[in-house]
């Protein structure tokens, strides 16, 4: 079975970092693959497909496993604070997507050292309007996703 592309690229990222003078300089052609394909995805399923190579994603509704903290109502879609917490072990990455955004993929936080990773990230995202925010967690080689609806009164993608 071929190595999932994501794992392959992550492997390159790790060695690339060690090799190039302390700053990680990936060959543009390689690094451009993953984020650009996923970042260009126009729908949620396209984005997930590009990011995770069609691998199975387990839906999580238990907030003890994955919790998304976000405002009930976001007055300003330009700045919506999202906090993702997970207790899943051997954490490899947390990906945040906003379903209705023109570019659903917002960010992917990767943890090259899963043994010492802590399942918590906080950031501020743009939301074009009320939609689900989805957090996909990769832990121990498996994918899990949780979603939470965030109401936005003033859309923030500037379109």
């Amino acid at each position: 079975m071929n190595l999932p592309r994501r794992t392959f690229l992550k492997g390159i990222f790790a060695t690339g970092g060690a090799m190039a003078l302390g700053t990680s300089v990936l060959p543009q052609s390689v690094m451009a693959d993953l984020p650009e394909t996923a970042a260009q995805a126009k729908s949620l399923s396209e984005a997930e497909q590009a990011l995770f190579d069609g691998a199975q994603i387990t839906e999580i509704t238990d907030e003890n496993v994955i919790a998304i903290k976000a405002p009930e109502i976001a007055e300003n879609g330009q700045v919506v604070q999202i906090e993702v917490t997970t207790n899943l072990e051997k954490l490899e990455s947390i990906t945040i997507l906003a379903e209705k955004n023109p570019v659903p993929l917002v960010a992917q936080f990767n943890f090259p050292d899963p043994e010492n990773a802590v399942g918590w990230v906080k950031t501020r995202i743009k939301m074009v309007g009320t939609s689900d925010v989805i957090a996909v967690v990769k832990a121990d080689g498996q994918l899990y996703a949780a979603r939470r609806e965030v109401t936005v009164t003033l859309g923030g993608c500037g379109g």
């Binding site: 700053t23 990680s24 690094m31 960010a107 990767n110 943890f111 090259p112 918590w120 990230v121 743009k126």
Partner: protein, 108 residues
């Protein structure tokens, strides 16, 4: 050009876990906005990659899209570190070379 972008970085150690917080001054242009007067599209200009290292080892690397807010803020944690360790953040966008910001860790 480099002066316009400020990177603030803070790393605090508490009970064996280090919390890293950063705020970067950056327009994070989506490429979908238009200038009010001319109607011309403002070109996309956003941070694409962020990397945080602790004592030379990458503890977090992030890929961002246009969906991250202007003047991006992000925070995460990792296990380990002692007072005086170095935490380094570098970020990259299409236009600028890598920006590095060093910060010493402190104990809370």
């Amino acid at each position: 050009m480099a002066d316009e972008f400020r990177t603030r970085l803070q790393a605090k150690l508490k009970k064996g876990i280090t919390e890293v917080r950063t705020k970067i001054t950056h327009p994070m242009e989506t490429g979908a906005r238009r200038e009010l007067e001319t109607g011309k599209l403002i070109p996309a200009h956003f941070i694409e990659e962020v990397k945080v290292e602790h004592n030379g080892k990458v503890v977090m690397s992030a890929d961002w899209s246009v969906g991250i807010s202007k003047d991006p803020y992000c925070a995460f944690k990792f296990k380990g570190g002692v007072e005086g360790d170095t935490v380094t953040l570098t970020w990259k966008d299409k236009c600028d070379p890598f920006h590095a910001k060093h910060s010493k860790m402190c104990v809370t």
